[in-house]
């Protein structure tokens, strides 16, 4: 049951990364690819009906983690205290930037919120990447199951560790590049004209950088936490994740070369899911490793809730999850095809 919940939470985190990922990417890029008011509105029309729901995956994944692994949530959230508030504040700024922008027809008002949107959208992937880096590298958990960690120390990966070091910053950059490239493909798929061409151009520039960064990150992970790869030979899901990762990269390449934009977007989605799945399979059952004592690490077994709670949670999860997917299927269907810039007062 613990293993099942480990994977359910991982699946929800992966869906979150793919879904909110493309609207983060759109936020990072929009100042560059969308230069006129009409183009900006096209970008917002592409992500407008979806971004709020995308963000709910974060809350849903957090909720699932809370019910299944309360000690992990307690320890991780309080340990990363200040970084968590940066995430919270970035999400607040992003949300109001998107929602408030369209309410006032004024150039300066909109220019301001566009920049807030870009700033928060850039910060989020860096923070998520750094979080991933911290989860792989480990944190100074002691026998009480809690830790506290400064934002930075010496930028080395040895004790005393900080939230930001060369490895977690590298992961931050990798995630920023990946989600930006992912967002470029989403926008290329959903838009036409000059905006579409600029997004394709950005995607062609970004994807080689993503591939190089992913390669460096793979090497760096082996250096920072070699134990991660010890599981690899015996973890079929890790191989499946790796295959998805490489297949996704291939699909991105094929899609970009062949002008099949949906294929490219699906490829980048597979790429993201593949990375996360391979990581999850390699670290299992550890969810937060300790840099002080491996025995103090939080695992799916020692951080989980009681058996009845896990069963009850599964009972409603299997009802709720398909419904949630259904909403997204309907939304994608309703907003299928290329977007056009909506008229004033007709949407985002």
């Amino acid at each position: 049951m613990e293993m099942l919940w480990f994977w359910l939470v991982s699946v929800m985190v992966a869906i979150y990364a793919v879904m909110d990922g493309f609207d983060f990417g759109a936020g990072v890029l929009h100042l560059f690819v969308a230069r006129t008011e009409a183009e900006r509105r096209e970008v917002l029309a592409a992500i407008g009906p979806l971004w709020d729901g995308n963000e709910v995956w974060l809350l849903a994944a957090g909720g699932a983690m809370f019910l299944a692994f309360p000690r992990l949530l307690a320890s991780g959230f309080s340990g990363f205290y200040l970084a968590m508030f940066m995430v919270i504040w970035a999400l607040i700024l992003r949300g109001i930037a998107i929602e408030f922008r369209s309410h006032v027809r004024d150039e300066m008002w909109r220019a301001f919120w566009d920049r807030v949107f870009a700033f928060a959208s850039t910060l989020m992937p860096v923070l998520l990447g750094a979080a991933l880096g911290n989860v792989v590298r480990g944190v100074p958990l002691d026998a009480t199951g809690y830790f506290t960690i400064p934002l930075f120390t010496t930028f080395g990966t040895g004790n005393p560790v900080g939230i930001l070091d060369w490895y977690t910053v590298l992961m931050g950059l990798l995630v920023l590049a990946t989600l930006t490239a992912h967002g470029a493909l989403f926008l290329a798929w959903k838009t036409e004209g000059v905006l579409h061409l600029r997004c394709l151009h950005a995607a062609r520039k970004l994807w080689p950088a993503v591939a190089v960064l992913a390669l460096i990150a793979t090497w760096a992970t082996a250096k920072v936490n070699p134990a991660v790869y010890h599981n690899l030979p015996g973890a079929p899901l890790a191989w499946a994740g790796l295959a998805l990762f490489l297949g996704g990269l291939g699909a991105v390449l094929a899609g970009l070369l062949g002008g099949r934009h949906l294929l490219a977007f699906l490829g980048s989605s597979a790429f993201i899911i593949g990375i996360l799945a391979a990581t999850a399979a390699c670290v299992w059952p550890v969810m937060l490793p300790s840099t002080l004592d491996p025995a103090a690490s939080l695992t799916a077994y020692n951080a989980s809730a009681g058996a009845h709670g896990l069963r009850a949670g599964l009972g409603w999860w299997v009802v709720g999850f398909p419904i949630a997917l259904g909403y997204f299927a309907c939304l994608f269907r309703l907003h299928r095809g290329k977007v056009s810039a909506p008229g004033e007062g007709q949407g985002y």
């Binding site: 849903a60 309360p70 995430v87 999850f321 419904i323």
Partner: protein
């Protein structure tokens, strides 16, 4: 450590109170929008659709601020109250998880359709979008109240070998009797806020002589909704809520009324200042027997005073709790009187010409926000000194390794951010009111 507890409590109290300004308005308006859309559909009367369109715009703004100020609260369970999360997460994680899965997805999927999709969807499907938002927001309210109800009156759990609370009976936990009563009381409070807001704008436009057709409709809708909700928030829901506090949180009831001595024919205090040092209420104006009646249904029944309980079980911040309760009840009584009067004048056909009453309705709109906040002050201060009633003390729930310097920093950050957010919200709502119905 004492300092740390203070800052954690201040931060959660501030962020939760600020947040709840918005959901109470969206939940109240969601109900009114569904009614307006329903009437528009049933009577094929475009006036109702115009009214709904206007309030959907206010709803959208309020919803957006509600969403972004709600996210921090979900995080703060882990960041600021880690030991509470580790202790009770096996139980309350259920409802918080369900809220995301069943309420947030529903709301997020239909919000865009409700706000932007009227033309694309057509009247029938646009009504369904309104219904979906109503269901989503009211469902979300239930999951949060059910979570809170576990902290007020824990049921359906067992204490595991490691001391943590774990789920024993899912349905008992989800349909906690406390949750159902508190939920109904809370939602009627939200409906009061919505009704007063709609009536206030109707009164404003009527006094101004602007948008008279819509103003009349707003007045009618707002007064009917406000009057019914004001009655229902008091009877039976508020009354039942009081009775369950009397039954399960006896020191809380005593503190709410500033009552130290036990005895029958307990008085309800209209005015008075609790003097904790002297263990008495100063300058009281009281109605004998009424508290006994409210608490247990009979004037002669015995109501325990705080002297019966050890002081370490008294709610901390007793004064705040006392005033929270009296502000809530006092305002609730005034709401019934004001809306009752407005409803009578409306039935008589003279409301739109009775300017003093219109002024009163217009100026009354902030008070339901105050009454709702005061109500949550009663619930949350009344729960003290417990985080989970009888099971975990508030002081035992904080994140131990987060130091006050960090919590003060983030609290100040929220204060600044929310100040700006509040100004922006008022500015944008003001613009919508200025634009009028379209």
């Amino acid at each position: 450590m004492g300092d740390l507890l203070f800052w954690h409590r201040l931060q959660f109290g501030f962020t939760a109170t600020f947040h709840y300004i918005f959901p109470q308005l969206t939940m109240g308006l969601a109900l009114i929008i569904v009614v307006l859309k329903g009437l528009g559909l049933a009577r094929s009367d475009p006036r109702f659709d115009t009214a709904a369109r206007f309030w959907i715009r206010i709803f959208g703004l309020s919803f957006a601020v509600g969403v972004v100020t709600g996210i921090p609260l979900e995080f703060q369970f882990g960041t600021n109250w880690a030991r509470f999360s580790a202790h009770a997460g096996g139980v309350i994680g259920q409802t918080l998880g369900m809220e995301g899965m069943f309420a947030f997805f529903l709301e997020s999927a239909f919000l865009g359709l409700l706000v932007w999709g009227e033309r694309r969807l057509g009247p029938r499907r646009h009504f369904l979008a309104a219904l979906a938002l109503f269901l989503g927001s009211w469902l979300s309210g239930y999951f949060i109240v059910a979570t809170n109800a576990f902290m007020q009156h824990p049921v359906g759990y067992f204490a595991a070998a490691d001391g943590t609370l774990q789920l024993a009976d899912f349905w008992a936990f989800l349909f906690n009797r406390w949750a159902i009563i508190q939920y109904l009381h809370n939602m009627m409070g939200a409906a009061v806020t919505g009704g007063f807001a709609v009536a206030a704008l109707g009164a404003f436009w009527t006094l101004r002589g602007a948008h008279l057709e819509q103003a009349a409709l707003f007045l009618k809708t707002g007064v009917v909704a406000g009057f019914l909700a004001s009655l229902l928030v008091a009877f039976p829901t508020g009354d039942q809520q009081g009775k369950q506090v009397a039954k399960y949180q006896q020191p809380t009831l005593a503190a709410m009324e500033g009552r130290w001595k036990s005895g029958p024919y307990a008085e309800l205090n209209l005015i008075g200042q609790p003097n904790v040092e002297g263990r008495r209420l100063d300058n009281p104006v009281r109605l004998p027997g009424l508290l006994s009646f409210i608490a247990h249904g009979s004037f002669s029944s015995d109501v325990k005073g705080l002297d019966e309980f050890p002081q370490d079980r008294w709610p901390s911040n007793l004064e705040f709790l006392y005033y929270g309760f009296h502000i809530m009840v006092g305002l609730g009584t005034l709401f019934i009187a004001l809306m009752g009067l407005a409803a009578a004048f409306m039935a008589w056909g003279r409301l739109e010409r009775t300017r003093p009453l219109l002024w009163a309705l217009m100026l009354a709109f902030p008070f339901p926000f105050i009454a709702n906040s005061a109500g949550w002050v009663v619930a949350e201060f009344g729960r003290q000194p417990w985080l989970v009633y009888g099971l975990q003390r508030t002081a035992e729930g904080t994140s131990r390794l987060v130091h006050p310097g960090q919590t003060v920093f983030t609290t100040l950050g929220f204060a600044g951010l929310y100040f700006v957010l509040g100004l922006l919200f008022l500015f944008l709502v003001g613009r919508e009111i200025d634009h009028g119905p379209v």
